[in-house]
Amino acid sequence: MSSPVIELDNVTKVYPLPSGDVTALREISLTIDEGEFVAIMGPSGSGKSTLLNQIGCLDRPTSGNLFLAGKNIREMDDRELTSLRLSSLGYIFQKFNLIPLLTAYENVEYPYIMKHRKNDDTGRVRDLLALVGIDESLSAHKPNELSGGQQQRIAIARALVNDPAILLCDEPTGNLDSQTGAQIMEVLSDLHRKGRTIIMVTHESEIAAYAERTIVIRDGRVA
């Protein structure tokens, strides 16, 4: 059933700093197939977020190649990478990262408008909000008027609005209490069951247990 949607070939990431270069990823090679739910685990500072950022096209490897659906992202310019983030990748962050000036509804609609250049008239935004358990009265609120769990639900709805091939989650439950965290994980598991490819960074094994496969990173290397 599966073909690789993500392929890393000797990916190295070096952050040049005045105090000396920091090598966050060292020659990482791995493949992730369509429909997989993968957890990336490892201690703090091991390079998990850096890895996810390369896959999420927020950054480029210093060396090595990264293929998304068979396409080498090294050959894409900023404009193409940005459209890829808009249409094919959904990002869920630890800090929710909603746009403070927009209401919950507008936050979810934002990527839709960016992609389609029009308001959502299909009811998709409303349906997604319902799917993650945000009712109509809550969707008129600004993010700072909502709880962490509610914000993360909205972030998930936003990540899904353009129906991305891959969902990337960087410690999605990191800022939530365990009960809310479990609810969020239920939403993600549900999405996986419906066929979505999910890559999730976490340092908690209970959270990683929701995934089918776990990749452990230590000191920038696959352990």
Partner: protein, 412 residues
Amino acid sequence: MIGKDIILALSMRSVRLHFLRSVLAALGIVIGVVAIASIGMMGANMTLSVTEELSDMANKLTVTPYTGGGGGMMMGGGGGRVVVGSGSSSDDDDDVIDDDQFRDIERIVAKYGTAYTVRSESDRIEVGSETGRATIYGLDADIMREILTVEEGEYPKSTTSVVVGPTLAERLGLKIGSKIEIGDPDEGSTTTVRVVGILEERGMSMDLSTDMAIIGSDKLFTGIYGGEGEYDQVNVVVNDLNEIDTVKTAIEDGLNRKEDEVTVQDSSRMMESITSTLSTMTTFVMAIAGISLLVAAVSIFNVMMMSVNERVREIGILRSIGTQRTEILRMFIYEATILGLVGAVIGAVASLIIGYVVVLGMVGTAEYFFAPGSIVYVPMAMAVGAAICIVTGVYPAWRASNLDPIEALRAE
């Protein structure tokens, strides 16, 4: 519903969120626009009203004794001779136009219009206990009725009655019936005249400057200063404006045959010099007002940089979920444009009000306020103000659009 331009909506919300800061930034633009527009309109109104005033005399020529060198006097008939003691006939040689010359002029002008003589003298005057100086004109009684308008009272009928200009009347508190003593008692006899009329304001003019003058009959004038058959100036009124040059040349040819005897002037030179002086002045003052726009630009720049720095994280979020660099650029340019447009529109409304007051106060009339040449400064200043805002916003917007998404997301 947020409308399909969500980037514009974000800009507007950002402006609204920082309302006070935005208002203060826009205020700079308001002040700049008002300064430039009001000064521009003031200059335009001055030029328009002077041009209008001067065009009243476009059909007039003045003939004055040739004084050598320069092109004769520019304005007024006031400066002919220097008085040394009152009552003395102060004719120093040729600095007058004599009867023969006047008759020559009359003959030359006859088919084109009319000529009349002007005698003038500057002298000490005394009203009650107040003393001062004024120009005393001697004019033919019929000519006086033709060219001067009495606002209050009547034209002089005797050799002891005069009409006075409105500025002089106001300054010395002259009324119908007031007595004026002309001449310096220390240097000879004085002559007392009675005011029978006050003239309408005549403004700047090159044929006669009556606003600050006393005007009496020829007989009164020669009674005081002598100089029968001698005149300080001859004014010519030409019926057809197109013949002004012909008449000018004819007089010059007729009278300056052997040597230069007279200087003939029309209003064009005076008009040119006044309008060019006004426009130089206006440009200069407008340049100073432009500095206020520069200050406004700095404050807009400051606000835009603040807005970018405050929203680094938000920019990171927008970029990470697929917002193009150009959209971020657009968002901040919009923000600067909103500030600029709001400032420019408020500035335009304020310019109309303040400009009107300034023009009324400085020019004395607002009748040309809505003339195209004047009102054009409002859209012009608006455009300059808004443009400065947008240009100022470019650098902060460029900075914002070039932020690295990951670095921006890491910001607190």
